[in-house]
Subunit: 243 residues, 2 copies
């Protein structure tokens, strides 16, 4: 069976994203420092932990993306300060949200060359989640949009979504490989459909993308050190699939 | 030329939306009342005017939808109060945002029956803008999702977007009719492509959907009092198109 179609995640697979969120989280911790008590033993949680738990609580209603993150930061500021945070601090947080939305797109090392190599050999589909407008704007700025045969901006990356995307394009799961930095979103749901997946970890993983590797059967997928190794990893998948 | 495909807007065409935003805006005006000075003659603008101008300023970066509206309300609260608004008021505004996202979907009068009537005769496509997750959730709750042959959630309703949607479905513009409450988003860009449009006004129109009817050539389209008149309006379009 020959591989015909490669799905690429966007954030932290093709371009930097999570590093900007991490820097912004550090700024939030610093901003709130005068208003929160330090966690001590079984005491209150840290600001980072509170932010992650508020993001998790908001996920079903707000979904992914910078606007949701900004609203969760504001909620954290109010909750962590016991309602004492001044409007000027909220204003500063909203400015960080705008910076995140307005940040220039920086491709990861090796992305431009790898996408160029693959675009002649495979149908390439960009499959990304987050704010519709922000993802569209990042794709338009990326300089590699023309190499993709299709773009799918989705609200969640679960087996149902991947099945819908493949069905709409009449792609057999056995001929599809998904490439991304998140085991939870880019690898496991794709393997569940009988498709292939390649994991290319990013330098930092958002807490809500962490997966619990201690339960269930260990799934089988390749993990690469860089996207530059992708063409040969695809050759191996084809060889193993007996094409 | 026979009409084959009908595009339907969602918010304020199939289900109520703007009335909830209008009620929330009234709440914001009331909440901010103690902190703002009343506008006098050439003096400061009203809270509503300030909100609309902040929404307009944020549109290119934040896009449409409830999360953007919530962020714009918070910005208005800070700006209108000169930074004196307390965190408890910001918290209240964020609660209104959650209420808007969580509000049950209420179909407009005549929608269920009209969509049922049309679904056997035409290909029906829902074309809506706003938050990806929120629009998906409203469609899923609407009870009429199964009558649609396709769903397109877009970041902007301009001629480029409509051309892309029609192209992907291989629909000739001359065979397409768009139905919606916004002349700016549902009618004018569609007429520009040489397709047809039917305007079904809602009881209230968001300021950013207002269009300037005093400039340019008056375009030709039907305006209906209710979506129930749509089947006969479509017959008239077909008759005029000489099918």
């Amino acid at each position: 069976v020959a591989i015909t179609t490669i799905g690429h995640d966007g954030d932290d697979t093709l371009w930097h994203s999570e590093n900007h969120f991490a820097v912004t989280t550090e700024r939030l911790v610093e901003l709130l420092h005068p208003w929160v008590e330090e966690p001590t033993g079984a005491g209150p949680v840290s600001t980072e932990e509170m932010l992650v738990s508020i993001e998790r609580r908001n996920l079903a209603l707000l979904g992914y993306g910078v606007k949701s993150f900004t609203l969760s930061m504001i909620e954290t500021a109010i909750e962590a300060s016991g309602g004492r945070i001044p409007a000027s601090a909220i204003e500063e947080i909203m400015g960080w949200g705008r910076e995140l939305l307005d940040h220039p797109v920086e491709l990861l090392d090796g992305v431009a060359k790898t996408i160029e190599t693959l675009s002649g050999r495979y149908e390439l589909v960009l499959i990304t989640k987050g704010d519709l407008l922000h993802q569209e704007s990042k794709i338009a700025q990326s300089g590699i949009e023309a190499s993709f045969d299709g773009i799918e901006i989705v609200s969640e990356k679960d087996p149902v979504t991947y099945r819908r995307v493949l069905g709409r394009r009449s792609v057999d799961p056995g001929r599809f490989v998904m490439v991304g930095n998140s085991v939870r979103s880019d690898v496991l749901p794709v393997l569940e459909l009988g498709a292939h997946a390649v994991h290319v970890p990013y330098q930092v993983t958002w807490a809500l993308e962490h997966h619990d590797s201690t339960t269930g059967v260990a799934p089988s997928f390749a993990t690469l050190g860089s996207i530059s190794e992708l063409p040969s990893a695809l050759d191996e998948i084809e060889a193993r699939a007996g094409s």
